[in-house]
């Protein structure tokens, strides 16, 4: 089903196909909707021998990531996946992985957070964990999901980075939608992604303390190094995408994708699968002569500060559309975009924040059109509105 060549698979299955090509030695995960089919497919691959990995059955998400950290500490490539409540349950371990510089790769199915209980997609789970030291990527479609997971290992394990990566897929809209996906040849992926090598390996011949204490005198230096490594990852992401393009022919545009932004007066900034709804709206409005654009943020960490400034330099009005709200203020993506723009000479005249899609609420194309109309009308009173 997921052999090299074209396959008709879901976002989750594209992740599983990508993970198999990346050849992790350890997979530890706990099932949660809408992530479940990722680890079901991986379990089948381990069972049928097409993925020679240890598949650990764990009792919780906290244990799943802990096991991946332990595997990484002995020099094994590891993978986990989670969603929503499960991601929050492993929150403590997210900091352990990034602080210990263990290059674990994780897929997160973006899903609402209780209460009220809800299994559908929004991005409050991962965006509330933006500060945990993980690289955060947001996929738009199944093909990008597969390509991201392979690239993620090359990025995470790069000696200048050594930082874990979280790949986010919108729950159901992306995780469960079937698309045509090109699955790379394993030989090509092996050439692109050599086996994991680390000097921090737990090794009886060269014993070291792992996971040690650092008191007030030295602790901050470790945090500063994490920050510098995260900043370095922006360059490594671009280099990795270039190498991946040479191998597969699929080229990715770096931390953001600017679609029709060059001369755009009105731009919607967003991330994840909803960009797939915004893009045809932009194309239709463009065909009617309107100067509109889409800026899709592919990586929230490291944040594409310069790319955002460049892409929005000529815009009159910008709307940040996100499936997230930091209660009492604004959406977290908006906060980040606004911060980047305040350091720009070309701040747009209006910067609005559209909160939508919470708990899986649909964002149809007609809503996107009305957002562009509001950007042009300049009559919104409030900066933050729920759509």
């Amino acid at each position: 089903m997921m052999a090299a060549g074209n396959a008709f698979i879901s976002g989750n299955e594209a992740i599983a196909a990508g993970v198999r090509l990346a050849r992790p030695q350890v997979i530890a995960a706990y099932p949660i909707t809408p992530q479940t089919t990722v680890i079901e497919r991986l379990a089948e691959m381990v069972e049928d021998g097409s993925l020679p990995a240890e598949y650990l059955h764990v009792e919780s998400e906290h244990s799943a990531l802990s096991a991946c950290i332990g595997a990484s500490a002995v020099g094994a490539r590891s993978f986990t996946a989670s969603s929503s409540q499960g991601l929050l349950y492993m929150a403590e371990c997210l900091h352990y992985a990034s602080g210990g510089r263990f290059p674990v790769v994780m897929m997160n199915a973006n899903r609402s957070v209780a209460l009220p209980w809800n299994i559908y997609g929004d991005q409050r789970d991962s965006l509330s964990l933006l500060d945990c030291g993980w690289i955060q990527a947001y996929a738009e479609d199944a093909q990008e999901s597969l390509d991201l997971v392979i690239q993620a290992y090359a990025i995470a394990e790069h000696p200048d980075v050594l930082t874990p990566v979280m790949i986010n897929l919108d729950g159901f809209v992306l995780t469960h939608t079937y698309e045509l996906v090109s699955v790379p040849d394993p030989v090509d992926v092996d050439a692109f992604l050599p086996s994991f090598q680390t000097t921090n390996r737990m090794d009886p011949d060269h014993p070291m303390s792992l996971g040690f204490t650092a008191g007030p005198r030295h602790n901050q230096a470790f945090k500063q190094l994490q920050h510098l490594a995260m900043l370095s990852s922006a360059r490594v992401i671009r280099e990795t995408e270039a190498r991946y393009g040479e191998v597969t022919g699929r080229r990715y545009p770096g931390l953001v994708e600017a679609f029709q932004c060059d001369d755009a007066e009105y731009v919607i900034v967003t991330l994840g699968s909803v960009a797939g709804t915004v893009r045809p709206v932009v194309e239709r409005l463009r065909s009617m002569g309107e100067r509109v654009g889409l800026l899709r943020i592919r990586y929230m960490r490291p944040f594409p500060e310069e790319e955002v400034r460049v892409a929005l330099a000529g815009a009159k009005a910008v709307g940040v559309l996100e499936k997230d709200i930091s209660f009492g203020y604004e959406g977290t993506v908006f906060t980040n975009v606004n911060s980047a723009l305040t350091r720009s000479d070309a701040m747009p005249q209006r910067l609005l924040n559209f909160i939508g899609g919470l708990g899986g609420k649909d964002i149809p194309a007609v809503d996107i059109e009305s957002l562009f109309s509001r950007l042009k009308a300049f009559d919104d009173e409030a900066t933050v509105t729920f759509i």
Partner: protein, 101 residues
């Protein structure tokens, strides 16, 4: 076995590039002394000590060292002054002496 000795040649990192990447670093040596809260110190009467090693076994910080010539000595850089060695000594040859006296 004796506890690790302090590595006096060790210099803590002063520049960012001197730090390890992540929390992995060779260990097996001590880099700082740690005994500041001791109010009393145990003193061994080495003339009467039988070298039975009960104190050596029971010291919770492992700071009683076998000297190699049949004797024992206490590493006061790490002794916390808990008094377990004095209490457990079967020949009553370890006594607690007030610090500063």
């Amino acid at each position: 076995m004796n506890h690790p000795v302090r590595n006096t040649a060790y210099r803590p990192p002063s520049r960012l590039e001197d730090y390890p990447v992540g929390t992995a670093f060779p260990s097996g040596h001590l880099v700082d002394i740690n005994a500041a809260w001791r109010s009393e110190r145990p003193v061994i009467d080495t003339e009467r000590c039988t070298n039975c090693l009960v104190c050596w076994l029971l010291c919770p910080d492992g700071v009683i060292r076998r000297t190699g010539d049949g004797g024992l000595e206490i590493d006061y850089d790490y002794c916390k002054g808990c008094g377990i060695c004095a209490r457990e000594c079967r020949f009553d040859v370890i006594h607690m002496q007030k610090e500063g006296s």
